[in-house]
């Protein structure tokens, strides 16, 4: 399981492709969630080797809202999510057409530094992945790497972000302990605190509760609601009820195509596309 370091040149592909406007944005502007656009994909086609995972995906992600990415297994949700912080760039055989714009600027623009991009666009994974260091060091690991905090300020930063995720009370007496002694839910909260400590603008959640029990799931979901509107959240989920609970807007992907993008309630109750209706109905039975 090694990360392949193939020399994929991201910046040389097509430049910003503009002029495609998301249908749903035009047809269903909802006052509650209609804000400026944080992330845009323009004709994004992407694959590994001979397989094409995403084809011609055009979506807008609203700033300060929670956007859910739903779709059946293999529909490209996670791939799309991992494209936003360029985690796919080094996968072997990676190829891409089209573009992703963060605040109107291509994330593959030569002037964009990938590490700074990943500071601005944080990520939480399917399973908690603490680092092999103490709980406190875990929280500040990213902030230290980006020189946002010195050795002296570590404890304050750790307290601030552990409090923000509601973990401070549970761990304040064991900051020097191993994070691996925490429960799965606590570990995931720790990872969230770690992601928040680098002050991201966008947070990508890749099925963040798929390995957690219902109580921890609820804790994470409630937290996600508190992050907006300061942070733009994109959450991949298999759980349609979860999308309904946490997301302002929902994007439905199927077989690598963006089928529908709209306000969550609208998409679930009055889907514009038949495919969406089938998927949503199928899950609700």
């Amino acid at each position: 399981m090694s990360t392949q370091a193939d020399p994929a040149q991201p910046a040389e592909a097509a430049g910003p492709v503009r002029g495609r406007v998301d249908q749903a944005v035009v047809t269903a502007p909802h006052a509650a969630t209609a804000g400026p656009v944080a992330l845009t994909t323009a004709g994004l086609t992407l694959g590994f080797g001979t397989r094409t995972i995403l084809s011609d995906v055009c979506v807008d992600v609203r700033r300060g809202a929670v956007t859910a990415l739903i779709g059946p297994t293999g529909s490209g949700k996670t791939t799309l999510l991992r494209t936003f912080n360029r985690m796919n760039d080094r996968v072997s055989g990676y190829h891409r057409k089209g573009d992703v714009l963060l605040d109107g600027r291509s994330i593959w623009h030569p002037g964009v530094e990938v590490m700074e991009l990943r500071r601005r666009i944080g990520m939480l994974f399917q399973r908690p992945n603490p680092f092999p260091m103490s709980i406190m060091e875990n929280v500040v690991a990213g902030a230290r790497a980006h020189r946002l905090v010195g050795k002296a300020g570590m404890k304050d930063v750790a307290e601030k972000h552990l409090t923000a995720v509601g973990l401070w009370g549970a761990v304040k007496d064991r900051l020097k302990d191993s994070p691996f002694r925490l429960s799965g839910g606590q570990q995931q909260l720790l990872c969230l605190a770690r992601a928040l400590a680098v002050t991201p603008e966008v947070l990508l959640l890749d099925e963040p509760t798929s390995s957690l029990d219902p109580a921890a799931t609820q804790a994470i979901e409630e937290l996600v609601r508190t992050l907006v509107p300061d942070i733009t959240v994109i959450i991949v989920t298999h759980n349609l009820a979860q999308a309904l609970r946490v997301a302002d807007r929902t994007i439905f992907l199927n077989q690598g195509r963006m089928v529908e993008n709209g306000e969550t309630r609208q998409l679930f109750e009055h889907p514009a596309e038949e495919e969406t209706a089938h998927y949503v109905a199928g899950r609700f039975g």
Binding site: A5, F125, N129, P132, G142
Partner: protein
């Protein structure tokens, strides 16, 4: 005994023949006594062998320990005494040649210094190589490099020694060390790097040759360890905007930290005990503690090897006893290093490392 089920298992239902050796052997094996006893014996052998070697060395070197005393560790003289036209002297319950005096300080210091140099060279190179092989190289090239790494580990030490004595030593003595030796300032620690570069036999050459020899050991073990680090925490570090170097330093290497310490100890054990390559490149200076990094010197192992012939000429056998004592010292040093490393591993893993690291 149970011949009927046996016969059935062999597939001879018509004419069972319990005399045939194979089924009988199988019966014994199936009773598991043989396997159980084989296992037990195997489990005891390492301990028994270690104790046996220690006891034999101790018995062999007892007279030397008694006569040499603690001076053995503090003095530098190496003299088996007058061998011609002289009668053995009896002192302290031990027969030895008159004037015999042995001090192993140069050997002990030499052993530790060469191994230190070897580690300083080998550890960064090995870890860098392991990380590169696992994380950077394409799969095919990585396995090719891995094969060469293991081939390098298999080169006989006499070949490496020859390379060191013929090529490598003279090369650095002519082209590299003179520059350093002349330009290093004469301040406390750095003055160890001043002095006559010599002809290429000595401390630096021996240490570097040892370094070359232990790189494959440390690197291939570390590579296997790094391969086992799960992708998830590494991706977490990358997604947090850490550079590859930060990810390696803060996540990948700590994840397998205890294992890397173990790999380094494995290499150190080899370096401490390596005989042939050092004997060929050290310059064999028996009675001087190295004053600078270029000077000729010797190690415990090299002395035991180089001096054994001469020691047998001592009619009292005392010189050979002293060689045994040297061997005992080397064994103890190696064991102390091992135990210290274990202690270090436990301490490190107790503080920072996860309990269930399997993830």
């Amino acid at each position: 005994m149970a011949s009927a089920p046996l016969a059935r298992s062999v597939g001879e239902a018509v004419a069972p023949s319990p005399r045939r050796p194979a089924p009988m052997l199988r019966a014994v094996v199936r009773r598991a006594d043989v396997v159980r006893w084989l296992g037990r014996t195997g489990a005891v052998i390492p301990l028994a062998a270690l104790v046996f070697i220690l006891v034999v060395l101790l018995i062999e070197s007892l007279p030397a320990i008694r006569y040499n005393g603690l001076h053995f560790f503090t003095t530098t003289v190496w003299n088996e005494g007058v061998s011609y036209n002289a009668l053995p002297v009896h002192s302290g319950g031990v027969y030895h040649m008159s004037g015999a005096a042995f001090g192993a300080l140069p050997e002990i210091v030499g052993t530790l210094l060469t191994s230190l140099i070897a580690l300083i060279v080998a550890v960064p190179v090995s870890i860098g190589a392991a990380l590169t092989i696992v994380e950077r190289l394409p799969r095919r090239l990585a396995s090719l490099v891995g094969i060469f790494l293991e081939l390098l580990a298999g080169i006989p030490s006499v070949i490496v020694g020859l390379f060191g004595a013929l090529t490598f030593g003279p090369f650095i003595a002519h082209h590299i060390t003179p520059v350093i030796a002349r330009n290093v300032p004469d301040v406390p620690v750095l003055s160890f790097f001043r002095g006559q570069p010599g002809s290429g036999e000595g401390l630096l050459t021996s240490g570097l040759v040892l370094g070359i020899m232990i790189i494959p050991i440390i690197a291939s073990t570390t590579r296997d360890l790094v391969r086992q680090v799960p992708i998830l925490p590494r991706e977490g570090a990358i997604a947090l905007g850490m550079s590859d170097a930060q990810c390696a330093r803060r996540v990948t290497l700590p994840w397998v930290g205890p294992g890397i310490v173990g790999a380094v100890v494995l290499g150190l054990g080899r370096a401490l005990g390596e005989t042939m390559a050092v004997a060929m490149t050290c310059g064999v200076a028996l009675s001087t503690v190295p004053g600078n990094i270029y000077t000729t010197m010797t190690t415990i192992a090299a002395t035991m090897f180089n001096y054994l012939d001469t020691a047998f000429l001592d009619g009292t056998g005392f010189a050979v006893r002293t060689i045994a004592e040297l061997g005992l010292v080397l064994l103890v040093i190696t064991m102390v290093v091992n135990i210290a490393a274990r202690w270090l591993v436990r301490r490190v893993s107790g503080i920072a490392l996860p309990v269930g690291r399997g993830v």
